[in-house]
Symmetry: C2
Subunit: 389 residues, 2 copies
Amino acid sequence: MNTEFSSKAVLEAIRSVVQSDNTSISLHEPKLAGNEWTYVKECLDTGWVSSVGKFVDRFEDDLAAYTGAKRAIAVVNGTAALHICLILSGVVPGDEVLIPALTFIATANAVSYCGAVPHFIDSEEKTLGVDPGKLAAYLEDIAEQRQDGCYNRITGRRIKTLVPMHTFGHPLDIEPLLKICADFRIELVEDAAESFGSFYKGRHTGTFGRLAALSFNGNKIMTTGGGGAILTDDEELGRLAKHLTTTAKIPHRWEFNHDMIGYNYRLPNINAALGCAQLEQLSAFLDNKRALAGRYAQAFSEVPGVRFIREPEYCRSNYWLNAIILDEDFRNMRDEILEVTNSAGIMTRPAWTLMHRLPMFTDCPHMNLTISKSLVRRLVNIPSSAGLV
Amino acid sequence: MNTEFSSKAVLEAIRSVVQSDNTSISLHEPKLAGNEWTYVKECLDTGWVSSVGKFVDRFEDDLAAYTGAKRAIAVVNGTAALHICLILSGVVPGDEVLIPALTFIATANAVSYCGAVPHFIDSEEKTLGVDPGKLAAYLEDIAEQRQDGCYNRITGRRIKTLVPMHTFGHPLDIEPLLKICADFRIELVEDAAESFGSFYKGRHTGTFGRLAALSFNGNKIMTTGGGGAILTDDEELGRLAKHLTTTAKIPHRWEFNHDMIGYNYRLPNINAALGCAQLEQLSAFLDNKRALAGRYAQAFSEVPGVRFIREPEYCRSNYWLNAIILDEDFRNMRDEILEVTNSAGIMTRPAWTLMHRLPMFTDCPHMNLTISKSLVRRLVNIPSSAGLV
C-alpha cells in the first residue's frame, strides 16, 4: 500500500483494476455483444438502411419507454439534438444561452448554430455540473425582467435558455435549477449526452427540462455508430422536433412541400438497428460500469492525495466516464499523470479545455469560473469501457 | 401501339419496362448485393462502428480515385456537405447565393444555415439545370463589381457563390457557368448530390467547381444509409473541410482544443463500410440504370405527347431518376398521370415545388422563372431502381 502520492501510485491503482500489464487500454470502447448482427443484417437483407424502416420507430419507442419521456426523436448525433432543442426552446439570433464552461464543445457549438451567444457558467465540485447557488446569485446581479423574457443588463441581450450538462454521466442538481429557471423566466434544455442510464431521485436525466439531448456516439455508454435523440414530454414539441429533423416536409402522396427551414438530421435505419440491439444490453452495461467504478473507488481509497469521483448521493449514475481528482496540494501533477499513464498504454485524458478559453468564444460573457478552473487543473478521466469488467 | 396521348398510355409504357402486374414498384430503392455484410460485420466484430476506423479513410480514397478529385471528405449527408462547401466558398451572413429554383430543399436550406439568402435562378429544358445564357444576361442587368466581390445592385447584398445542381443525375452545362463565375467574380460550388457516376465531357461532375457536394442517401444511386461527401482539388480546402466536419479539434495526445466553430458532420465508420461495398458495385448499377433508361426511351418513343428525358449529348449520365416530360398541349395531365400510376402501385412523383413558392423563401430574390415553372408543370419522375433491370 502506497503511503505517498505519486503518478506511479495512480498508474498502479488503475492497473490493479483494469488488470493489464502490456496491452493498451482505451478510454471507452463500445461492446457489441447482442443482437447487433441480427438487426443490421435485417436492414441489409430488406434494403431498409436509410431514412425509413422499422428500427427508427422502434428505437424511438424504446428510448421513450426506458427514459419515461413521452416522446423520443432519433437524430444523427448529440450535437444535432442540442441544436434542435435550442431552436425549440425559442432561442433566436442575438439571444444568450447559459451553458457550463466545463463541457464538451458541442454544447457551445449548438448555441452558435442558432446565431446566439454562449454565456459561460461555473460548476460545483460535488456534481461537476452547473452550481445552482452561484448561478442564482449571479442572475440576481445581472438579470433584468422585460416583457419578452429575462435580459442580461450588461450586454443588453435576452437570456433565453440554460443548458446544464450531466458531466461524465453524473446527474447534476437539477431541481434547484428548475426553480431558478422558473423564477427568472429562462427555458431549461438538458444536455444529457453523457448521462443515458443515469437517474436523479429515481427519474431519468433528460426528463426534467422541457427538452433534452442524448448522444449515442461511439464513445458513449451505448452507440449507434453516430447518433443521438431529443427527449420531451410536450407532444407538440415532439411533433415539431420530428418535423424539423426531417426537412420540415409536409406529408403528401407525392408533392414536395416544406413549411420551415428544416434539417437533415434523421438517424438512418441501419444506425437505429444498432441502437435497438445496444439498448437491450444497457442494463448489463450499467451493471458492468457500476462494478468497475466500485473497483476504482476501492483502489483509489488507498492512494493519498487523489479522490475517485462518485455519484452524488441522490443519484444513480451510469458512470460513463470515470474520473479522479487530485487534492489541491497535487494540482500540478495532472500532466505528469497523463504522461505516465498514456505512455504506459493506459489511455487517460484531462477534462475539456474550458469553453471561454477557446479562440472563437473568448469574447463571450462568462461569470467567475473559479471552480471550473480548479476542476480542470485537477481532473483526469480514466478507462471506463463496460468490457473492462 | 397507342396513337393518342392518355395517362393510361403512360402507365402501360412504364409497365412494359418494369414488367410488373401487381406488385408495387418504388421510385428508387437501394441494391445491397455485394460486400456490404462482410464490411459491416467487420465493423461490428472489431467494435469500430463510429468516429474512427479504416472504412472512412478507404471510402474517402475510393471516392477521390473514382471521381478524379484530389480530396474527398466523407460526411453525414449531402446537406452537411453543401453547408460546409458554402462556408468554405466564403459565404458569410447577409450574402446572396445563386441557386436554381428547381432543386431539392437541401440546396436552399444549406444557404440558410450560413445566414445567407438564396437567390433563385431559372433552368433550361435541355439539361434541367441552370441556364447559362439566361444567367449571364440577368447578371449583366443586376450585378455590380465592388472591391470585395460581385453585388446585387437591387438588394445591395454581395452575390458570393453560385450552386448549380445536376438534376436527376443529368450533367448541366458547366463550362459556360465556370466562365460566367470567373467574369463576375462569383464562386462556384457544384451540387452533385444526384450525379454521382455522371460525367461531363469525360470528367466527373463535382470536379469543376472549387468544391462540390455528393449524397449517398438511401434513394441515391448508391447509399451509405445516410451520407455524403465533399470533393475538392484544393489541398488546403480539403484540410479545412475535414477540420470543420470533425468539430475543428486540434490534434493532440489528450488535450481538447478547438480553433473554429466546427460541426459534427463526420460519417460513422459503419456507414462508410456500406459505402465501400456499394462503390465496388457502382459500375454495375450504372450499366443497369442506363439499360433501364434505354428501355424507357424505347417505350415512350411510341407514346405521343410525352418525351423521355435523355442525357445531354456531351455527357454520360447516371440516369439516377428517370423522368418524362409532357408536351405543352398536355401540361394539365400531370396530376392525372401521378394519380393513375400511384393508384396502380407504380410510384411516380412530380419535380419539387419550386423553392420561391415555399413560405420561408417567398421573400427571397428570384429572376424570371418561366422555364422552371413550365418544367414543374410537365415533369413526372418514374421508377428508377438499378434492380429493375
